[in-house]
């Protein structure tokens, strides 16, 4: 398999240096990398799973609104970024496979390369600071 574009590679290198969870997908939503803090959210190790298609990783945690209603995929920042190549941000709750519910904020941004080509997307998970 050919190497990723350097814009993707450099995003991974940055993710490796951050203490917040970072998820990187290719342009069709395949999860191609997640860092160590993100492993805690997924409950899995990148070394073990490798890349994951979107229909696999999207089922690992359940996103919910403040009333506990399940959010549709189209309401999630990363999915929206993959759809329209724009940055998005949203605060919501997730329930992991272990049943733990956490309030988080997610910022997603598109990776637009030097040639303005859409190469993939990045999602940063923040501990929610909202009241």
């Amino acid at each position: 398999m050919p190497a990723y574009e350097i814009e993707i590679i450099l995003n991974r290198q940055l993710a490796d240096c951050l203490s917040i969870p970072v998820f990187i997908t290719d342009r069709i939503g395949t999860l191609i990398y997640y860092n160590e803090p993100a492993e805690k959210i997924l409950g899995r190790r990148y070394e073990d799973t490798g890349e994951m298609p979107s229909n696999v990783w999207a089922t690992i945690f359940k996103p919910m609104d403040e009333l506990g209603n399940t959010l549709l995929p189209d309401e999630l920042p990363l999915v929206k970024t993959l759809q329209n190549c724009n940055p998005h941000h949203k605060t919501f709750w997730i329930e992991s496979l272990q049943g733990k519910v956490e309030k988080i904020s997610v910022t997603s941004y598109p990776i637009l390369g030097r040639s303005s080509k859409f190469l993939g997307a990045v999602a940063l998970f923040w501990e929610s600071l909202d009241e």
């Binding site: 050919p2 190497a3 574009e5 350097i6 814009e7 590679i9 450099l10 991974r12 030097r114």
Partner: protein, 278 residues
């Protein structure tokens, strides 16, 4: 394919007896096959390239990996640019903000240089490249962006039978843990895959590199590891630091060879060395 190394020095040319063996000119490499010639980069070494009278054709192709000064500073003194019957094709990396013409014009204009690019007597044709494939004579060239500050590409030059890979400025080990173990995550690896000859950045020794992480260059250790992972058959370590004398470069290579044993040949690039590939 005949390859002649015209410049091996990084950053700035050097000139003193201490640098005489490896040479003091900045990056340039000449590749010839079937009467076609490529000049890879336009550092000060380009001034020593074969003249067009010797080549017998009126077209010159200069492929720039990037526009840092040590890769273009020879252009203004390259005689064919001042000959009206010569057609010069300059291939350089695309930028999302400025055209290649605009960026080259910053060098080809006062106060840095007395002659504007539009005033050069030769016919100049500019080509902006990115992750591209293009053909020049018998050569098929792949360019890909690689890790180095600013838009920078490396080249994979395939001739009729052989492949030469040229990545003089490159820091593929830029990360928390050095060079990744998975090839998919290594910048430039496709350019160098199974190549017959790889010329690669090796500006620093290990101790120097630790103080210059993120500057866009490689340690000699990372260069040989990169070549090994790519499956290169032969490696030339280049872009020598301008502070490294002949004696120091010899010591660095000996020290590296004492620690690193690979199945492929690796050596320091030397100015004007010639390599013939089938």
């Amino acid at each position: 394919m005949k390859i002649t190394i015209r410049g091996v020095r990084g950053s700035i040319p050097t000139s003193s007896p201490e640098f005489k063996y490896y040479g003091g000119n900045t990056s340039c490499c000449e590749v010839v096959e079937d009467g076609y010639r490529l000049l890879l980069d336009g550092g000060s070494g380009i001034c020593n390239a074969t003249t067009d009278q010797q080549m017998g054709n009126k077209r010159i192709d200069i492929l720039l990996t990037h526009l840092h000064l040590d890769h273009i500073q020879g252009l203004g003194f390259f005689k064919p640019l001042f000959e009206p019957d010569i057609e010069v094709h300059i291939w350089g990396p695309d930028s999302s903000t400025q055209s290649l013409h605009s960026r080259l014009s910053r060098y080809f204009s006062p106060p840095l240089f007395p002659v504007h690019i539009r005033e050069l007597p030769c016919k100049i044709i500019l080509h902006e490249i990115e992750n591209s494939v293009f053909k020049i004579g018998p050569f098929t060239i792949n360019s890909r962006y690689v890790i180095h500050p600013g838009p920078t590409v490396g080249f994979r030059v395939a001739g009729r039978q052989s492949v030469f890979t040229y990545i003089p400025d490159h820091e593929p080990a830029l990360s928390l843990n050095g060079l990744p173990t998975d090839r998919k995550w290594i910048s430039g690896i496709d350019l160098a895959a199974d190549t017959d000859l790889l010329l690669h950045d090796a500006q620093y020794n290990l101790e120097e590199y630790k103080k210059k992480i993120g500057w866009g260059h490689s340690s000699m250790d990372d260069a040989v590891l990169f070549a090994s992972m790519a499956g290169a058959k032969r490696l030339l370590l280049s872009h020598h630091d301008p502070s490294h004398t002949d004696v120091q470069l010899n010591e660095m290579l000996a020290e590296l060879k004492a620690r690193k044993n690979y199945t492929f040949t690796y050596e320091m690039a030397v100015e004007n060395m010639q390599i013939n590939l089938p």
